[in-house]
């Protein structure tokens, strides 16, 4: 409805430095912090991968999917299905299988969904994801509402993933690899075309691009990467349930991507960490004593989260990076900086 804006695609040097420091900090953390927080960070890193996959679809291509979690949860379930109760399975074949399953689901659903536009697209992505949710929720054979357990993490040759430290660094490596991979895609012919589709799909078609094919490619690729994250989630937590594919999970992903700032993948990482941190913050709020009664602020975390989201959309709709970009632009205008290359 409003004019599409340029994303912050070229990260300024300061942002790259901060990201680098962040990776160093993540790498150093297990030696300095507690095991509990290392587990939390592992989860955050997995969610960061999930958020980056959605950023490709939403931030770069402009497709707002309310059902992206379906591909996240599906891969976790695939791992659960192939892992027997008594022994682990090999990573080398189960990872591609799970990612492939998610990508295939995304291809099939994408084929039906990508032909729709605007608000329709939003609604049908939600509807199809709910369909997948109910498929698992209603069927005991697929685990039902209770979900499924993954009793052993996959084996990966010399990498002992049951060792939490090893798993932590494995996840960090995947995070960094996915980030650089997606940055590569952003500047590739595909990435440039997707950006064009976000800004002006009509003109792209008039110039000869088959935008259906491009959007479907983005949808499938994003679905596969979401599956990568979902596989790691299942491996780490040892448990999958339909909530992983549900509306709330999809909503969380959207909020992570927006919170950080869309379209450059760095924002998705920042947003994932920030969002999870906020969630913990709200849930851990203290209990106040007012007069004779107690007010358990942490219990009502949904209220604080909701208010935060409303405040975010009113005050900083382009997220943290957007806010920084806006402030920088205002400074630049004041100082008379002309022709600043922003695109």
């Amino acid at each position: 409805m409003s004019t599409p804006q340029a994303n912050l695609e070229h990260l300024p040097g300061s942002a790259k430095l901060l990201l680098g420091l962040g990776v160093v900090a993540l790498a150093a953390f297990p030696w300095m912090g507690s095991d509990f927080y290392a587990q939390m960070l592992t989860r955050m890193m997995i969610l960061a991968i999930f958020a980056m996959s959605l950023d490709l679809l939403q931030g770069v291509t402009g497709l707002v999917s309310l059902g992206h979690a379906a591909y996240f949860g599906l891969a976790g379930y695939v791992l659960a299905f192939v892992t027997p109760a008594g022994e682990p399975v090999g990573l080398w074949w189960t990872l591609p299988l799970a990612v492939g399953a998610s990508a295939l689901a995304a291809l099939i659903i994408g084929f039906l969904v990508v032909r729709t536009h605007g608000i329709y697209f939003i609604m049908v992505t939600m509807a199809f994801a709910q369909m997948v949710f109910y498929l698992f929720f209603d069927n005991k054979a697929l685990g039902g509402s209770d979900g499924l357990y993954i009793n052993f993490r996959p084996t990966a040759g010399w990498l002992d993933l049951e060792n939490k430290l090893v798993f932590y660094y494995f996840t960090l490596a995947v995070l960094v690899a996915v980030y650089f991979g997606l940055r590569r895609v952003l500047w590739s012919p595909l990435g440039r075309a997707l950006t064009g589709i976000r800004v002006n799909e009509h003109r792209m078609r008039a110039m000869g691009y088959s935008t259906f094919g491009y959007k479907l490619t983005a949808f499938t690729l994003a679905g596969g990467l979401a599956g990568l994250a979902g596989y790691l989630w299942g491996a780490q937590s040892g448990f999958v349930n339909p909530e992983l594919m549900g509306f709330h999970m999809s909503a969380h992903a959207i909020m992570m991507v927006i919170l950080g700032g869309m379209g450059n993948f760095a924002g998705a990482i920042v947003g994932a960490f920030a969002f999870e941190y906020l969630l913990h913050l709200f849930k851990d709020l203290p209990t106040l004593s007012l007069g004779g009664s107690e007010l358990r602020l942490g219990k009502h975390w949904q209220l604080w989260m909701g208010l935060f989201i409303v405040a975010l959309v009113i005050l900083a709709p382009r997220g943290i990076l957007g806010l920084l970009q806006h402030l920088k632009a205002r400074n630049g205008a004041v100082q008379g900086g002309a022709d600043e290359h922003q695109a």
Binding site: H117, I119, A127, F128, Q130, M255, L303
Partner: protein
């Protein structure tokens, strides 16, 4: 399936469909005229149900509760529109999605704080608690017929309003060409507020009359919202007529599906949506 069962399932399907229509009509109008997608639309349904329950407990009468609840819901809707929604009519869909996400969280938590998390039943009023016998063993509850009746009356009222009254003309004009309508001196802001309030009112009434059948429980809004989206997608956004036909279709498919194909019944409606999208990506009756 014998005739009596078939009749019962058809009546159930129509009743479910009409209930969905009440929600879908509001959603499709609000989107068609103001261009805003409201993921929290299910919350108004939930609000209606909870008001029906709590007010009927306090005042002892479901009828009074419905009237009072409707007034409260409409006031709430108008306040929400004035405070938040009207500033988002021109915004990105993404921003609207984000806003209404936040509202879903807020409403769910407020609901929990005000009314708690228990499941509550609402008794059917004595006047409507009888059943009409169809065969020796089977009878059909009067209350369900009453529900369908209320929905039909409201649907006709909506149709009458939009196509026969001056207000309806202004509403249609506003949907067609906002700037021109404003230039003609029609207060478009008031039209938007009225349309929003109508949407909220319809959803709340749906929740209120459904409460005795479905009970009152947390998250009841999100389940019905999804169905509502499917109805709007199949029917075509902005088309109230499309919403009606689509809602009846969905109601019947879902009801008969649960009886005839219970294993896949949950997915049947989505399969229907997929089939429609393959044929007409913008719904059956897109404006």
């Amino acid at each position: 399936m014998d005739l009596a069962n078939f009749l019962i399932q058809t009546l159930n399907g129509v009743q479910y469909g009409l209930l969905l229509f009440m929600l879908a009509a509001g959603l499709t109008l609000i989107f068609g005229i103001m261009g805003v997608v409201n993921l929290a639309h299910g919350s108004f349904y939930m609000l209606g149900a909870y008001l029906a329950w709590s007010l009927s407990v306090q005042w002892g009468s479901l009828t009074l509760a419905i009237v009072g609840g409707l007034v409260l819901s409409v006031v709430f809707g108008l306040a929400l529109e004035w405070l938040l929604f009207r500033h988002f009519y021109h915004r990105d869909h993404l921003d609207q999605v984000l806003l209404t996400f936040g509202l879903i969280y807020i409403f769910e938590e407020l609901r929990s704080m005000v009314w708690g998390d228990d499941v509550h039943g609402v008794p059917i009023p004595d006047l409507l608690s009888a059943s009409i016998p169809l065969t020796e063993n089977l009878s059909y509850p009067v209350y369900r017929l009453f529900m369908s009746g209320v929905c039909v009356v409201l649907a006709l009222a909506l149709y009458g309003l939009i196509s026969r009254t001056r207000l309806g003309m202004k509403i249609r004009a506003g949907a067609f060409n906002r700037d021109m309508t404003e230039a003609l001196g029609i207060n478009i802001k008031r039209i938007h507020a009225i349309v929003f309030a109508m949407g909220v009112g319809l959803a709340a009434v749906a929740g209120m009359i459904a409460a005795p059948i479905s009970s009152v429980y947390p998250n009841m809004g999100s389940q019905v919202l999804i169905m509502c989206f499917v109805v709007v997608v199949i029917g075509g956004i902005g088309s109230v007529r499309g919403a009606l036909i689509s809602a009846l279709l969905v109601g019947l498919v879902d009801t008969f599906g649960k009886v005839l194909l219970p294993q896949v019944s949950g997915m049947l409606v989505y399969a229907l949506m997929a089939a429609v999208l393959l044929w007409k990506p913008e719904g059956l009756f897109k404006q």
